[in-house]
Symmetry: C2
Amino acid sequence: MSEIPDAQPFTPVSDVGEFGLIDKMKAALADAADARDLVAGIGDDAAVYRVGAAGSDGPSRVHVITTDALVEGVHFDRTYVPLRALGWKAIAVNVSDVAAMNARPRFATVALGLPNNLSVEGAEALYTGMAQACERYGLAVVGGDVTASARLTLSVTVVGEAEERAVVYRRGAQPGDLLCVTGDLGSAAAGLRVLLAGKDRMTAGDGAADDPPQPDLTGFAYAVERQLMPQARLDRIEAWAEAGVRPSSLIDVSDGLASEAHHLSQAGTVGAVIDAGLLPVHVQTALAAQRFDERAEAFVLYGGEDYELLFTIPEAEASKLSPDTYAVVGQVVEPKEGVALRLPDGNRVPLEAAGFRHV
Amino acid sequence: MSEIPDAQPFTPVSDVGEFGLIDKMKAALADAADARDLVAGIGDDAAVYRVGAAGSDGPSRVHVITTDALVEGVHFDRTYVPLRALGWKAIAVNVSDVAAMNARPRFATVALGLPNNLSVEGAEALYTGMAQACERYGLAVVGGDVTASARLTLSVTVVGEAEERAVVYRRGAQPGDLLCVTGDLGSAAAGLRVLLAGKDRMTAGDGAADDPPQPDLTGFAYAVERQLMPQARLDRIEAWAEAGVRPSSLIDVSDGLASEAHHLSQAGTVGAVIDAGLLPVHVQTALAAQRFDERAEAFVLYGGEDYELLFTIPEAEASKLSPDTYAVVGQVVEPKEGVALRLPDGNRVPLEAAGFRHV
């Protein structure tokens, strides 16, 4: 009689989450890496490697590369996301990662998984949105793969370029630096809330009525646009280059301010104190919070998908920037102070790293 | 009474197929392209762009970039594909596209879509296979994205490098050139046939027996290995560089010899005659054809996934190569002769462009 073999171990992927799986990928692939010319691998918004002939004069140039996928049912819902907006977003979120290295996007490749219920016209709408984003951000799609797929999937890789000395990483913040963001935060999450409410109302109609109720987007056009067609802040990258300014650390806000502030704290090498009174909140974000009985602060801290830039910079450097192009939201502090939110009464509450999670 | 709005046009994606959808992507994105530094965009095995500071001395250097996704239920079936092999294959097929430009792979990014029924251990097996392929081919995975997904999906992008003058394209064949391939063809398709037969036998067991019948792979280990863990022919790229040889055109055999020969004919700019008697067929391919009552020739011409290199080269150039590193399978001819198979009796039959299709 043969013995029953040991069962294969089965640890659900949800036990380790997206970041845990990426850490494991990094660990498994680090030894195999041919690290020649590699400046930074997995772990920042994009990887960095040197290009250009050795011994050429002029500053050393690098390319950065990043990949991000949008998966139906995980990152988006086709019932309220137009396909053109989806094509735009797939490019823009990758451009945002390139901007978060202080680099400029140049080339993209796109791997599309198309389900049977997507039409050729739908695929063309995706392409149109991609083309518009490429035109806006000055990059070219140079490679494509199309396969069948159970769910609509857009995997985009973007290559960007920079001078090596201009690249800004997540690490680099120093106690005393200002903690700053471009634009406003939380509006993309507010827009998602509005879209979901609109979907609920449509679904409630249940096909019984001849005229199903339309989603009520009145007064929330800005927030909805922020969710559907986010803007990568390349304009700020260009302004910094013109002003000769280089932040000490930089990340884009894809998972909410709390999570990104923890990334900049470099596993506790520095701390960060965020002032609750300084959070840049758009009026529609505040109104959406009111309407849906949520806190605008929660949209800002844990909402995600704003694709603004969070950066640290010495005060003297910041003074070279036009004051209407960024908001100071706090300060980099000593590591023992941790990552905290300072309330209007002066009390501090520790901020959890929790942020927006698709997995 | 409101009028009924026109229905949205709905053309199923299957009407235009993978190549049609890529052509449409190319058309939609061409105008938006910032083509600075771009040597070749969508349409070859990989795109080509210049890197390196302008004005540097030495030969002009380029990077090539390619992306290819493997999707569960479309490209593979987890019932008979080990996850380690799948990780290997996802890297190897992209390395093969880089080799097909006469370039060497350097960096990769990986976007994984993981379903709930994959374990952390399964993800680690994927990573192990990727790491082994990276070590074998001398490249590093520098970027990763992991998301949830209904079906296991591996989207890989590989960046390679070459001197600009060394790059070989699909175009470039001249009448009189020899048509050559590395290795043997059809064995990957034979291996797939063996695996599918094994799956059928397992399924026939239907859980009723205590010992379900094992798939019969006896005698087909080579063919099965070719299907599960294909080799990218970087060794040939290196041998050509050492011998100072540059083919006039080049492509990798992912869709079967017939389809690839049509690609090299450049939409009829040249013709190609393939000799049926010269097709390099492994004994296991012949035996599998016999076993399953198919024609070995069909595996070679329409099977696909061999990832060997198909190239054209002037006879004088070919004579610099070691004769056991390639097989001559035919000749490039005048365009009016088309793409044809020459039978042993001297008759020619036109070859359809049909090849292996996942979509």
